[in-house]
Structure formats: structure tokens, C-alpha cells
Amino acid sequence: MRLREFAKSVDLEIRKLCDADDFSFHISESETLETRFAQNRITQHMGKVHLSGYISVVYDNRKGSVSTNDFRIERLPELLKKAKEMAMLTQPDLEYIPTQPKTELKERKNCYDSVVNLTNEAMVDIVAKCIKRAEAEGAQISGMTEKEIEKDYTSGKNGFEVYEEFASFGHSMTMKRGNSETKLAISVMQMEKFDLDNELNNLAIQLNDLTEPHDMDARAIPVILRPQAVENFFGWLTWMMNRRQADEGFTPYTDKVGTQFFGEKFNLYSTDSIKGLYMPSAVGEMEPFRPISYIEKGVINNMPVSRFWAKDKGLEYTPYPGNFVIAGEGVSEEEMMKMVPEGLIINNFWYLRMIDAKKGEITGMTRDGVLYFKDGKIQHAVNNFRFNEIPHDATRRILALGKEEQRSVEAVMPTMLIKDFIFVDKSTF
């Protein structure tokens, strides 16, 4: 039986058997192929079938839930009994909000045959080409090529129901020669958008730029962040920008909604208008996906708001982004290099962590190559650095934005030129 029909039959049975005031049910089936390669050979190679899901019940605002990968119909009485017992033994959730009623949802296509039909042999061929190219470059290559097909069904007692299918192909690879190493990663929902030769050419160019890095001390200096670095750095905003946490005084965004808190050039939004970008039918707490402007010209328009907080404070429920876009302007890297006397080009960041939640300060290190430019031209590679920076402060120093690029199924990012990015330490390599 296909997952949709199976999930529906489980849902119907739960409705017959469950006497809870409210319940929600979720089931997910995934099929994956994952080929890991390192040092020009395959080290791990996996084919997986997995099922997961939960039933959550509510009695007098007391919640209990069971998660399992065994949803056989004959097991449902046992699972529901367990969930009920848990609910009865616990205390009420003072912030409980009932599940959503039946809601009209727009069907979104996130599953394409070109990925679904991709064979293990074809994926191994991709790895073979990567190794061949690495050998031609006198380098070693490591990475993973993967395919995932996922089917999800979610429903609630009050009528909400959604079924979605998603398929993606991901390929990431790190090429290393001597002490130089660099990486490119991409994920797509259609194989037509994956050009291996182009990826390998770009990776080889990126590696060739990194030979013999010069020693350089840490200081505040202009940076050109390439899209992967932008995604890693500003991805933190989606964690930090929570309306309740702001209202309760835990983050820098307290009382900042509607104000110009970010730089004027900074726009962050989710969208349903970019082809090839993942768009779920429903997001968050059983809500239809809708495009949302979070930050427009530096003004905070919206922050994610839970259904409880929305009800309690008279706000509109606002989910976390189902996808996210930082708007670009189309300025080229060459043009950016001419806009400042000198600076660094950053391919990627690594190991980002919060160091001061109230100030919104995060730390992290550069990775996959740093280039020093001066007088409008790349001069040479340099060592890696540690930064301690505040993302909203950094947006006030944006000088230019490149064209938007899609390197993952969920995000679109531009290259970004930022003045005086704060590096606090240099790496020993």
C-alpha cells in the first residue's frame, strides 16, 4: 500500500478509536541512497528505507505523544493507550492551542521524476567522474552524493490534513591538494539543474586560487561573502528572530518590529515565486505556506510567532520560513572588489555558535578558502580567521549585493560585500 493510502487508513482508525479532546497524527516515509567518498574511494555506501511518525493526544490540556516506526493497524489501540496514559499522568500545558480545522491548501510540486528515477549506478558514475577529475588535478576528493524521496502525511482531529512528496538530490565535495582544500555543495529537486562538469570546473578553479596562502593577522576588514557563506551566516537569523523571545527580552529584537533595525540593503523573505525552490503546502503549526516578508529594506516586518503567542498577544501567527531568500542586486564580484581598497573573499564559514544571545553575537571560522584582494584584484590566498560578529550590525555595513544564486533547495542567496567585518583571531593554517 502506498504511504498516502496507508496513512489515511491509520488516520481513520485513530478517529474511530481515540477519545481524546484533540489529537494530531504524522507519518513520514523516506527512501535514501547515500554514497560517501573520501581520498578517491567509496568509504560508506547506504540504501535506506525508513518510516517515522507520531500520535499526539490531548485530554483536558494534558498532552501525551508516542513516536514509532511501526504503525500497523493492530498496534493502534496500544499506541493510543500509551499516549493517553502519559497525558493522564502529566500536568496541563498552560499554552495548549487546539489543532487546526480543515484548511484549503495549495498543492505544491516538490517531487520530480528525474530525481526519483536516479539509480545507484548513476550516482556511482557521478562519484567516478569526481575521482577522475581529482586525479587529473593531482588532488584528493571527499564528499557525499545523495538522493532522498520523502512522503509526509499530517492530520489533526479538527479536520486539518496535508500530504506532501519531496525528492532531492544533493552533492557535496571537498578537493584537497597539499595544504589547500575547498568545497562546493549543491542540492536540487530536478537533475536538469545539476551540472557536474560545471561544479567540478568551479571546484578546481577555487582550489587553484588557494595555493601558498600568505600569513595575515585578524582585523576588521571588508569582506565579499560568497552565497554559501551568506547562507551560513544569516541562517542564524531564522533561529534568533522569534517574536516571543524578543518580547520576553531574551534577544536583541525586543520592541524592534516595524523599526529600521537592519541595514537598508537587507531584505529577507520566503516566497512562492521562485521555480526550483522548495515550497511546502503547509508549514509550522498546520498553516498553509504563504510568502512572508520578514525584513524589508532593513525594517523588521515580521518575526516568527507561535499560535499560542499570537493568540495571547493579539498578533498574527507567523511561521518560520518554509524557504528563505536574501535579495540581491546583481553587482559582480569584480565590481565589488573595486568598491573598497582591499578586502577578503570568503568561500564559507564553519562552526558558527551563539556567544551572546541578548546582543545577537555569534562566532565562527572561515573555511574552504580565503582570498585577499587589493586595488580591485585578487592578490593571493590567506590563512583562515575567526569572527565574532552581530548579524544585524553587519547588515548595516552592506555595501553591495550580487545576483541571487540558488545552491540549495531551500534558500536563495546573493554574494555580499560588507564593510569592516570583525575578525578577532587568525588561524594557524
Binding site: I42, T43, H45, V124, I131, E146, K183, D425
Partner: protein, 480 residues
């Protein structure tokens, strides 16, 4: 029907040079409470099996959750096909497995009170009491408490003739008080780490007294100063802090798969390359890092690893010198080792076992030495407890750590609390600055239950430990 034996028989028939099956059932209970409101009570179970098939120097792995003879056979065949595809690539670079023999054995974590036998309302009552205690302090605006208990039943069988049954338990609590001031917000936590133990571990923590201390110290932090600028200062690091530092700067760089570049694309590689074995000065001569998967209550203590290699004890760093790595059957032969140290572990049934950090701890000082004596020897320094921000490069050399609670040390005495402290250092500077380790009376363990590694990411478990340790002349300062 014994699906383990069925899978192994079929793998042999299909020509496996080696094959194994892990049938793994894991149940987990999580309770999360925030501001006296029960946000989540969940009981989860995960049941399935993963099969590895090794032939012609290459692995194939397939997993499934459907238990019947046809599905088991289908999964073995799938693993075989995948291995054959891998072998096309590896024909000139074949993997080799370290020597091992078969074992028929069983293992069970020695627990006193099964956490799943403790009634849920008793757990919730304790959590509410702790929560109320923290919220009885007016500046505490948010109080959270999370308890996780899990239990895994595993059957491992291999073509070497192994048939190993294991039963393990993990318990982990964590609670936090967060206070908000005019222009700042600070939190303090009790995060003792996970333990391979029963509910007796929770009882031993004296949570109510700890809640009082946590709330008071959160308020103290809010009103505390930071340090002006960065300067070379001494550090005394408490075991509740040092566990994470050793995890990142010693545990990960000495995983052999990283050393070999197998994690180069994501988790990173290691500076601790094989030519440094037996000669690299990792730390001062006081520094001995013991790998011990036989450690009582250790999260990596399970009888055998997921290669079917028995748990063992060895030194990663001996008298300050890099001594050995943590290895698996497929990594050890690459550096000429005949046997694996047994560090191959998978998280769930559907995960491929990877080279993991063993239980790894800093041995206590051999001479009698108290934390007070360590502090007495510091003119200008900071003592750090608990975990905060942590960040380290992909070669495991340069790092920056925060903490959860900071105490100023001046002229041999603790003078006041501090907040927003960071220290920066690197390998080999950091461990070569150790000049004092308190003795075994002060040794404490700290268990990690969420070590992220691998592609796709797996969450591993292992236990660290230390006595309070003094580090000289480290860059320490306040965040901006």
C-alpha cells in the same frame, strides 16, 4: 525466526567476505517543561535492522524496518548490490578489515532503577518542583527542565560467528534558569551530561538544591562584570567545562577516520597525523588521556562496538605524547594496525557505523592536590564551570570556548562572579599549558549524548571526565 542468522546465512551464500547485521530496538522518553507548563511528553520507539556487506574491498549497507523473511532477504541483496557498485570504484584502492574473531556474548548496563519503571507523574512532580524553585526568584523569567531516558536492545551477528546481545540505558537531565535585566539576559544551567545508568543517576544529582544554586547564580551573572579586553591569564577549568574542551580538541582529532581524511567534506580532518604518533607533544607530561570503553556508566560502554570488537582501554595521550588513535576495523589497517580499538558505532538501526570518540578522560593528577590549592597558585585568572559557546576549526587546531559560570581569581582567591568570558587557544599550546591537575578525589565524568558527526549526521554518545585543571597563560577576555 531468527532474522539475524537468516541474514548472515544469506550473506555467506551471496559471497560476502564479511557481513553483519544489527537488529536494534530503541525506546526513548523525553519530557520538557517550561515555566510550569508541560510542553512535551513523548515516548518513542525505533525498531529495525541494518546490514553491512563487504566484498572486493568495498562496503554496501542497507536498512529496513519491516520484519519478515522476504524483507530481510531483500535487504541483504540490496546491501550486496550496493557493495558491488562501490567495488567498481575501489578496485585500485580496496578497503581492508582488521583481524577479528567471533564472540557469543551478552552485555547489560548495570542499572539500579529502570527509568521506564518510574511513574511519569513522579518525574513530572520533580520537574515542577525544580521549576518552581527556580521561578521563585523574581528575576527568573524562564525556567526549563528536560529529561531524556533511553533504552536500546541490540542483536549483532556477523559472518565471523559473532552473536552478541546487548541492553543499554542512558539518562540525561538538563535545567536552565534565564534572567532578564534592562539591557542583558543571562542564563545558568545544570547540565551534568548523560550517564549510562538508571534513574538513580537523577536521584544522585540532588536537583532541588542544584535548582536553587542555578537560579541564584543566573542572577549573579546578570549583575556581574565582564573582563575588559583580552589578556594572557590563567584558567582553572572545572570537569563540567573541560569535558567539552577535551571532546573537541582531543577526542575528535584522534579519530582515525578524520586523520585519514574520511570526514574531510563535512566534520573535517585532523592535525594529529600518523607521523606524529609516539613523538608529538600534545600536552605537558601531566597530561594523560585514557580511552576506556570499559568505564562504568560510560556512554560508549556497551560490551562491543558495532564492528563486533570488544570494548577496551588504551592511552590516546601518554605522559603528554600522542600515543594512539581511536580506530575501527576499516580504518586501523590503513596505518598498519592489525586490530581495531573498537570505536565503530552507529546511532540508529538505519545508520552506518562510523569511527567514534571512545569514552575519553583526562586522568587525575598523581600527587595530592585540591582545587583550592590550584586557585591559590593563580594571580590573575578565571575559573570556568559548565558549557557555553564552543567553536573549533575543521583541523581541530584553533578554538574559542565560553562557559556557563565564571569566577574571577585574583591573588590566589576567588573574588567575584563574571559573565561573557571567552578564551582562545590552539593545539598544541593549550594542553601544553597544563601545570596542575587536582587528584582523583575531585575527578568527575561528563557524558555527551549529542555528538554530531557524519554525512548524513549521526548523534553519538561517549563519556569524558577530568579533575579541575589549571592552564597557564591563555588568552582570556570578555566578549564585545
Amino acid at each position: 525466526m531468527d532474522y539475524a542468522l537468516q541474514a548472515i546465512d544469506l550473506a555467506r551464500q551471496l559471497g560476502a567476505e564479511y557481513a553483519d547485521i544489527r537488529i536494534q530496538y530503541t525506546k526513548t522518553e523525553q519530557i520538557f517543561l517550561q515555566n510550569q507548563s508541560i510542553k512535551n511528553v513523548n515516548n518513542s520507539e525505533l525498531n529495525g535492522y541494518g546490514i553491512r556487506f563487504f566484498k572486493d574491498g568495498a562496503w554496501g549497507f542497507a536498512s529496513n524496518y519491516k520484519f519478515n523473511a522476504d524483507e530481510v532477504a531483500k535487504t541483504v541483496r540490496k546491501a550486496k548490490e550496493i557493495a558491488a557498485n562501490s567495488a567498481k570504484i575501489n578496485k585500485d584502492r580496496k578497503l581492508v578489515l582488521a583481524t577479528e574473531r567471533g564472540y557469543i556474548d551478552s552485555f547489560k548496563t548495570p542499572i539500579v532503577k529502570d527509568p521506564f519503571d518510574i511513574p511519569l507523574n513522579e518525574k513530572v512532580d520533580l520537574m515542577l518542583e525544580v521549576n518552581n524553585k527556580m521561578m521563585s526568584y523574581a528575576p527568573v523569567k524562564r525556567a526549563t527542565f528536560w529529561i531524556m531516558s533511553d533504552h536500546t536492545d541490540k542483536v549483532f551477528a556477523s559472518t565471523l560467528g559473532s552473536y552478541i546481545k546487548s541492553q543499554t540505558w542512558t539518562v540525561e537531565p538538563s535545567f536552565t534558569a534565564t534572567v532578564v535585566g534592562n539591557d542583558d539576559s543571562q542564563s545558568r544551567s545544570l547540565r551534568p551530561g548523560g550517564s549510562s545508568a538508571g534513574w538513580e543517576y537523577i536521584e544522585s544529582l540532588n536537583c532541588l538544591d542544584a535548582a536553587d544554586r542555578v537560579a541564584r547564580e543566573a542572577i549573579m551573572k546578570l549583575n556581574a562584570d565582564s573582563l575588559e579586553g583580552e589578556a594572557r591569564r590563567d584558567l582553572i577549568l572545572d570537569p563540567t567545562h573541560l569535558g567539552l574542551t577535551m571532546h573537541e580538541s582531543v577526542g575528535h582529532p584522534t579519530e582515525l577516520d578524520r586523520v585519514l581524511g574520511w570526514e574531510a567534506d563535512f566534520a573535517g580532518i585532523s592535525f594529529a597525523t600518523p607521523e606524529k604518533l609516539k613523538n608529538y607533544q600534545y600536552g605537558t607530561k601531566e597530561v594523560n588521556f585514557c580511552a576506556n570503553n570499559l568505564l562504568p556508566n560510560g556512554l560508549a560502554t556497551a560490551g562491543y562496538d558495532d564492528d563486533g570488537v570488544p570494548n577496551q582501554k588504551w592511552y590516546i595521550v601518554k605522559d603528554g605524547i600522542l600515543n594512539e588513535y581511536g580506530t575501527t576495523r576499516d580504518t586501523a589497517p590503513i596505518i598498519g594496525e592489525q586490530m581495531s580499538r573498537g570505536c565503530s558505532r552507529a546511532t540508529n538501526y538505519y545508520d552506518f557505523p562510523i569511527n567514534r570518540i571512545p569514552n575519553l578522560y583526562l586522568e587525575p593528577g598523581k600527587e595530592k592536590l585540591t582545587p583550592s590549592e590550584l586557585i591559590a597558585g593563580v594571580e590573575d585568572g578565571v575559573m570556568i564551570e559548565g558549557q557555553g559557546s564552543f567553536s573549533i576549526d575543521q583541523h581541530r587546531v584553533n578554538f574559542q570556548f565560553g562557559g556557563d559560570m565564571f569566577w574571577r581569581i585574583e591573588n590566589g582567591k576567588i573574588t567575584k562572579p563574571l559573565k561573557k568570558i571567552l578564551y582562545r587557544s590552539n593545539n598544541p599550546e593549550f594542553w601544553n599549558s597544563v601545570d596542575g591537575i587536582a587528584d582523583k578525589r575531585f575527578w568527575k565524568s561528563w557524558g555527551v549524548t549529542n555528538c554530531g558527526k557524519g554525512q548524513p549526521m549521526q548523534s553519538g554518545k561517549m563519556t569524558h571526565g577530568a579533575s579541575p585543571t589549571r592552564f597557564r597563560n591563555i588568552r582570556v577576555g570578555g566578549s564585545k
